[in-house]
Amino acid sequence: EDQVTQSPEALRLQEGESSSLNCSYTVSGLRGLFWYRQDPGKGPEFLFTLYSAGEEKEKERLKATLTKKESFLHITAPKPEDSATYLCAVISGGYQKVTFGTGTKLQVIP
């Protein structure tokens, strides 16, 4: 069974203080790893899809990287509007379902 573990559970940063969120996964045959952002009371908003180890993707202040065991979401010089819960998810092998982690709740303080 696929497993996804995200750390830390919560992270509090000062505005401009860069950091990284971790997503460790155990799957048989990764087909894709997804990062989503979720604001309170809303559905997850797609950020990135990574398919193979070594792949990197960037969007504004966010950069996602992937290895064979984990993915990182790097946040550079965050702003208060980056405050949200960041979810990691994987899909593997012949399975149809996506397995999510429990998320990292990020708070960026002005």
Binding site: F34, K42, F46, K97
Partner: protein
């Protein structure tokens, strides 16, 4: 273009009532997924449709849960004889092709069973 929409956004039900939750996927998207999200947790897979065919329902927690997508577009998740433990946010997502594709989520329906 329009994203995934869900209705109602909020539903309060008395224990034992039946509820129906609707999902309108992005136009043309072949795949549709339902998830259940408890407070402070990540979404958990319930079921998956490819067009009108329900290919995986392994995540449905009991036989009180039923989903359909009769014309391969709009989907309905029905919960019969609701219980308090059914209280959660129910999320719908769609993707353009198969399950390896990015899924786009709706805003969710928040269900509270009293």
């Amino acid at each position: 273009g329009a994203g995934v929409s869900q209705s109602p956004r909020y539903k309060v039900a008395k224990r034992g009532q039946d509820v129906a939750l609707r999902c309108d996927p992005i136009s043309g998207h072949v795949s549709l997924f339902w998830y259940q999200q408890a407070l402070g947790q990540g979404p958990e897979f319930l079921t998956y449709f490819q067009n009108e065919a329900q290919l995986d329902k392994s995540g449905l927690p009991s036989d009180r849960f039923f989903a359909e997508r009769p014309e391969g577009s709009v989907s309905t998740l029905k919960i019969q004889r609701t219980q308090q433990e059914d209280s959660a946010v129910y999320l719908c997502a769609s993707s353009s092709r198969g399950t390896g594709e990015t899924q786009y989520f709706g805003p969710g329906t928040r269900l509270l069973v009293l």
